[in-house]
């Protein structure tokens, strides 16, 4: 029997499963207070998903406010935090929107579909702003590369991202692939999408205009993903927990492609007053947010929803997270034209209700009113927690364990340095990622200027003018473990630097904050520190946070993952002709290191390879980062530079090797005076980049650096003719003076062999069809 509002009034004492739905006692009590009665089962379902951590940000809200409070003054931000995605002005009437989200838990339970629907969800966030999606990126983190579970999860995650993204026709232009013990039981699958639009095409999620119609279109609603939000995103994984597979949604990229085209066409034809994608919490979320942002009232007839499974209950329909659905608000005069365009793209659409001025969201089911709530109480006025937090007791001891020369044996002979370089570039974290990225289409749409393994992904937005955007995501979570405040800033500055070395001016920030349980005061301290660090640094660098996502409960039992604030930076380049690639080209070009190198190995890739984590992370120097950025962007714009590369993981040694591999051209370099070779080659000091300068531009470039107070030291020269003199005739060679010589072929072999050896075998080929049919 349907639990209607009338029934609820007549049976105030009915026992309700609020605890099983993830609500706390006081949350249940406050729902009763809001409604003045017990909720119906449908209302209970709605509140439980909308008040879940994932949808309500109840533990993070008080900390996330800093991103608004400390936002730098900027004219670039057209739409800020709170909408589906932030929108940034990039000039010439163009705007871009970008956002990164987590799909960690679904991807662990069902790697292929979890990763696939992560892409689907973030893409719908972008189209619901009115933007055409331009590209996607995937920051991925797994347990140790040789762990059996990594071999289970990774190939299917990669296949899921490829299977969905390739089918949508969106180039995948980069991301991250990191292996660390910390993620062994809780991999992180984040997904980023960027889209562009003209200013006048920006759309928001609000139901305006009394009498306007609410249309649900796209895929039919089915039984998949029911309770996915509250169950999956708010519980941790225990070895003997119940099977959770049914909660993961199943994606259909073909439907999503049609949905993109249909949505952009109805938006551009001016047929839409407000629009919202259906993601977490499905119809509950879309209707309550649209109503809450608009006139405040909405009448919905839930029995009109087109179903894949006719036996679904109203509660299930409200909670279903079936993919590839959108909700639009359309005036009665334009509804026929709207329906016509949906038909053109073979997308099903149905009017499920209308906008009212009652201030209530009322949902009927076959004549019975099953929901009658103030929409704000569902969508925006959920509980807010000031979770207790404190600095972990182990933090001091961790920071005191510095990787000095006494603590860890450092390589000192030329042979040992050479071996260290080989070990680093063949280690899973620094090895070539092409086994992964070659499964993604990076060419589709024909506007990809830079893609992995370049520092940033770069996309041309305007084919006429060459206007483009660059995007990078980063996070070294070991740094964040050592010091979450600095760690979040280091994630930001690395991303910021990646954008700058590619020649683009950093403009805006998004983030995906992956942490353990907010109920653990030590995790909450990490979260508070990281958000404060990020907000402070964004203010100083003058780039606003436009939006983001929080993923809590990333832990196995009591053990949380390292705090992992993934930071994405978006930059603009006026003409992509000026982009700076990482591959050097011209024989005789001079190789410069910009910035200062000091002895900083805590949290470095080298220390990680030694199995050590301790000390304080590299010092953050925001003014130096800003200066470096300005110099790299000017050098690119003025044509002073032919190649550049960020110096971070693995230090200078790894950076020059990556440039040589990308170019397939050798180089000679040397250790500058007054610095230990090991420190110069492998320290991970920040605010540094490698710049390759043609001899004709040397004077202009060094003058600019001197005038602005940026240290620039030449330490090498591009040279394709070192083969004979170094005993490898016919080969491209890198020579580190009085230290070592390696051929590019030798380096490429070890760099490219690692991932195929780990994941290329038959036994861990992606479980695509198998897992699909398991659904």
């Amino acid at each position: 029997m349907t639990d209607s509002v009338n029934t609820a009034q007549e049976s105030p004492d009915t026992e309700q499963p609020w605890a099983d739905l993830g609500l706390k006692q006081d949350e249940y009590e406050s729902i009763k207070e809001i409604l003045g009665r017990r909720p119906t089962s449908s209302e209970l379902a709605m509140y439980s998903v909308m008040w879940s951590e994932h949808c309500s940000y109840k533990s993070s809200k008080v900390h996330l406010r800093q991103f608004g409070d400390k936002a730098p003054k900027t004219d670039a931000l057209l739409v800020g935090i709170g909408e589906n995605a932030g929108v940034v002005d990039i000039g010439d009437g163009w705007a871009v929107t970008f956002k990164v989200e987590s799909h960690n838990h679904p991807s662990y339970v069902e790697p292929y579909q979890g990763a696939a629907t992560g892409i689907g969800g973030i893409v719908r966030d972008i189209i619901s702003m009115g933007a055409r999606p331009l590209a996607v990126m995937d920051p991925l983190r797994f347990g140790p590369a040789d762990a059996p579970d990594t071999r289970r999860v990774l190939p299917s995650v990669v296949a899921g991202i490829g299977g969905y993204g390739n089918c949508l026709g969106l180039p995948n232009i980069g991301g991250e692939l990191v292996f660390d013990e910390s993620y062994a039981g809780n991999p992180l699958v984040n997904a980023l999408c960027v889209g562009s639009m003209k200013h006048e095409d920006i759309h928001l999620a609000s139901a305006k205009g009394v009498g306007n119609l609410v249309v649900l279109y796209g895929a039919r609603t089915g039984g998949d993903g029911i309770g996915g939000v509250s169950v999956l995103a708010s519980e941790t994984f225990d070895a003997d927990g119940p099977a959770k597979r049914p909660s993961v949604q199943v994606g259909d990229p073909f439907m999503e492609k049609l949905l993109i085209e249909a949505t952009l066409e109805v938006l551009h034809a001016g047929l839409v007053e407000g629009i919202q994608d259906l993601g977490g919490a499905g119809i509950s979320c879309a209707t309550s947010e649209l109503a809450s942002n608009g006139e405040g009232g909405m009448q919905v007839y839930l029995d009109r929803v087109l179903l894949r499974d006719a036996s679904l209950s109203p509660e299930e329909i409200l909670m279903s997270e079936s993919q590839e659905r959108m909700c639009a608000v359309v005036t009665p005069e334009k509804i026929d034209a709207f329906m016509q365009l949906c038909k053109k793209w073979e997308v099903e659409a149905v009017v499920i209700g209308e906008v009212t001025d009652t201030g209530r969201l009322v949902i009927d089911w076959h004549g019975d009113t099953i929901v009658d709530v103030p929409p704000r109480s569902v969508a925006h006025d959920g509980p807010v927690y000031e979770r207790p937090y404190h600095r972990p007791s182990w933090q001091d001891a961790l920071q005191a364990d510095t990787p000095t020369g006494e603590r860890l044996l450092r390589p000192s002979t030329p042979d040992a340095l050479k071996q260290t370089l080989v070990d680093l570039i063949s280690s899973p974290n620094l090895a070539s990622k092409s086994w992964v990225t070659s499964q993604y289409d990076r060419y589709v749409l024909g506007n990809t200027i830079l893609a992995q393994p370049e520092d940033a992904g770069m996309i041309r937005v305007d084919e006429e003018s060459g206007l483009g955007v660059a995007i990078s995501t980063d996070c070294n979570s070991r740094f964040a473990k050592l010091d979450p405040y600095a760690g979040a800033q280091l994630a930001l500055v690395e991303s910021y630097r990646n954008i700058s070395v590619a020649g683009a001016k950093p403009l805006a920030v998004t983030n995906c904050l992956n942490f353990g349980s907010p109920e653990d005061p030590e995790v909450m301290w990490q979260f508070a520190q990281a958000t404060t660090g990020l907000a402070d640094a964004c203010l100083e660098l003058g780039i606003p946070v436009t939006g983001g996502n929080v993923s809590f409960y990333n832990q196995t039992g009591e053990t949380a993952i390292y705090p992992t604030p993934v930071v994405g930076v978006l930059g603009v380049i006026n003409n992509v002709d000026h982009r700076t690639p990482m591959a050097w080209d011209g024989d005789g070009d001079l190789i410069y290191i910009l910035g200062d190198t000091t002895d900083e190995f805590a949290g470095s890739e080298w220390a990680h390879l030694q199995g050590h984590l301790g000390g304080l992370p590299p010092k953050v120097d925001l003014p130096a980062e800003r200066l470096l950025s300005e110099i790299m962007v000017t050098a690119s714009h003025e044509g002073m530079i032919t190649a550049a590369h960020d110096v971070s993981d693995g230090g200078v040694g790894v950076a020059v090797t990556e440039m040589a591999l990308r170019a397939n051209i050798g180089a000679r370099f040397w250790i500058p005076e007054n610095i230990d070779p090991f420190v110069f080659l492998f320290s991970e000091s920040t605010a540094r980049a490698i710049a390759v300068i043609p001899r004709t531009e040397e004077f202009r470039f060094t003058e600019m650096c001197t005038a602005r107070g940026m240290s620039a030291t030449q330490f090498g020269v591009v040279d394709s003719g070192l083969g004979v003199s170094s005993g490898y005739p016919g080969e491209q060679v890198i020579v580190c003076d009085s230290q070592f010589t390696l051929t590019i072929d030798q380096l490429r072999e070890v760099n490219e062999a690692t991932l195929p050896a780990l994941f290329g075998g038959e036994e861990c080929s992606a479980q695509v069809s198998e897992s699909y049919w398991d659904q």
């Binding site: 296949a159 089918c167 439907m255 070659s438 499964q439 024909g446 992606a766």
Partner: protein, 226 residues
């Protein structure tokens, strides 16, 4: 007036904008053709672009061949209309029986996207006449089901009749029989190609500009046609 080349958009076509751009760069006029519209709008040639038409449901290209626009393409192709099917377009041409054989799942089971070296094996088609015979080019390859298969007799015939238009060089990327990357019909006007010339038409966005001659070839062929 430059020649008008139609690019068909099926539901799930992805590289239609790229194909249209390549046609423009080569100097032609790109004309958008809609799958459900049984009208070729007087175009001089047709490109069936890459993508996942109809979600690749059933089999790649199997549903697209029934699209209203395809019945016209099939009829006209049999009387000489130049047609180039790229990737999914190649699959559609095989499903439509305009070309022999079939494209199957890559032998290594993974989707693969890479810059692929090819050798041009025939310059006797309207899509390849601007190349030199034996010329080596590099253009993107990106597919999950690009393994070309046909019976031994058909393969022998394709080579004997000079209908293999391009072969993979270096490591075979998808298990295609005899390294076949592209073929033509007997008349030469219908060409199917697995790699993507439309992604190699600009220095900034492609690995090379080796894809351009496919499109200039057809424009020159059309100028010479009556």
């Amino acid at each position: 007036m430059s020649a008008r080349i139609g690019v068909v958009t099926f539901p799930g076509s992805l590289d239609d904008v790229d194909a249209a751009r390549a046609i423009r760069i080569a100097g032609g006029t790109a004309v958008a053709l809609w799958h459900g519209d049984a009208d070729l709008h007087g175009v001089d040639a047709v490109v069936l672009p890459g993508g996942f038409s109809y979600g690749d449901y059933l089999r790649c290209g199997a549903i697209a061949k029934f699209a209203p626009v395809m019945s016209l393409v099939i009829d006209k192709a049999q009387v000489g209309l130049p047609v180039l099917g790229i990737c999914n377009g190649f699959q559609i041409l095989c499903e439509s029986r305009l070309l022999p054989g079939a494209l199957t799942r890559n032998d290594h089971q993974h989707f693969i996207c890479r810059d692929q070296r090819l050798r041009i094996e025939s310059t006797d088609t309207p899509w390849t006449k601007d190349f030199a015979l034996g010329q080596e080019i590099v253009i993107p390859l990106k597919n999950g089901e690009g393994g070309y298969v046909a019976s031994e007799a058909v393969l022998d015939e394709l080579f004997a009749e000079n209908r293999v238009i391009a072969t993979y060089q270096g490591e075979n990327p998808n298990g295609s029989y005899r390294n076949i990357a592209g073929i033509s019909n007997k008349a030469g006007n219908v060409v199917g190609l697995m790699p993507h010339p439309e992604h190699a038409v600009e220095v900034l966005t492609g690995p090379t500009t080796d894809g351009v001659p496919f499109f200039t070839s057809v424009l020159k062929s059309l100028v010479g046609a009556p």
